[in-house]
Symmetry: C2
Subunit: 244 residues, 2 copies
């Protein structure tokens, strides 16, 4: 195992940060690493908004469902899927670009995620901790308004960055045999590997909560299933992502 | 700049590989790195199918629009967004899980992209080259059939991995000032930075093509705009991703 692999496998989300800010030069280097990730047909559909304004940070912390580290982290980035830029450029060439195509939505969302993960890895290599904030999709219209996002741009998630002030346990993952298959999907009813993982996650939750959280991966998934953010379809359609 | 950042910023897609295969132990280590990426609510919606069967590799190369390296690369992975597993587990808990929610589609697609990018970084740290194959979405139903994907699973993209037999130029990216903004999106009509980038990309295309390709980023985007894979919406709906 080399150092890069050790770094990748040591990832944990950090939600408690030392008060010091992250120097601008580091943020710029981190976002350059994001840009270096592959981009579908080089469309580069990622726009990153660094939020520095304290009032906006407080508001985003609320909009994300009350996550105070959105306001207190050394830096906060909003990763936007941006088809506005492509549309503007195509129209400047006398062409058109329809952000309503489902394929373009996939391209843009995937572009953002690849770029963001490079940012996460770069940040961790610099001794920073990070936490993705999918909670921005709790109130995406308010986020879009706050950041004055034009049509054909949506906030996919945020990212807190800062110097870690906690050292949480590694969260166990599904056994490799569950997620890596060969030549085909195999038996779709197979649950081998889930049961021991449930037991492992139960231990993890108990340990992390000091004994108060008694749950398994499967039980947590059942809770997750209800968090389906039913406003997303309409929100995206209003933005021009009509999923044609 | 540390070594990890240097590695990230040195990424280029590799499409020509030495004939030697990639050892199984490396693929497993690489996929473990993918698993270590953040996952929305720990849903772990990524399933990776390593395709080893030569006939299937040839077929996938065709389905991806005639990309021979899909067949010839040392290894080929298909990254699937998998909500089937979550559904199965939730139903086993007496709950339900609706893969038709747009939010769940975003969660799954994003999960896959974060995991894949970790795999890409891990692979490159091991001296391998990689290339994402979005072309699997040219004929996604045939890919799903070939790999016997159950409902609520779709192939987001593939990835070729292998020992590089080429050393392509770095592809220039948009100026940082175009993609990194502060506190808000700013002027949505601004195109500053695009013009010099177009000139830079024209030089890049000329150099890479030995003078035969005379195009800019903006001109290429106009071509991309037409490649909207209009079958994706119906394909995804048939899979259960109805975008509610």
């Amino acid at each position: 195992m080399n150092e890069v692999i050790a770094l990748l496998q040591a990832h944990r989300s950090i939600r408690k940060f030392k008060p010091q800010p992250v120097p601008d030069a580091l943020i710029e280097e981190i976002v350059r690493c994001g840009q270096a990730a592959a981009s579908s047909s080089n469309i580069q559909a990622t726009t990153v908004i660094r939020v520095r304004d304290a009032g906006k940070r407080e508001r985003l912390a609320e909009l994300a469902g009350g996550q105070p580290y959105v306001a207190s982290a050394g830096a906060f980035l909003v990763f936007c899927a941006d088809l506005h830029r492509a549309k503007l450029v195509c129209e400047g060439q006398g062409g058109t670009f329809d952000p309503g195509m489902t394929e373009h939505f996939i391209i843009a969302t995937t572009d953002v995620a690849l770029a963001a993960q490079n940012c996460a890895v770069a940040a961790e290599s610099l001794g920073l901790g990070i936490c993705y904030i999918g909670g921005l999709r709790n109130n995406p219209q308010d986020v879009a308004d706050l950041l004055q996002l034009p049509q054909a741009v949506y906030p996919v998630f945020g990212m807190c960055l800062g110097y870690p002030d906690q050292a949480p346990e590694l969260k166990p993952r599904l056994p490799l045999t569950v997620v890596l298959k060969e030549d085909g999907y195999g038996d779709p009813g197979a649950l081998a590997g889930i049961e021991p993982y449930d037991a492992q996650m139960r231990d993890y939750y108990r340990s992390r909560s000091g004994g108060t959280k008694d749950s398994s991966w499967s039980e947590e998934l059942k809770v997750l299933a209800t968090k389906s953010r039913p406003h997303m379809r309409e929100f995206l359609a209003r933005r021009g992502f009509t999923m044609k």
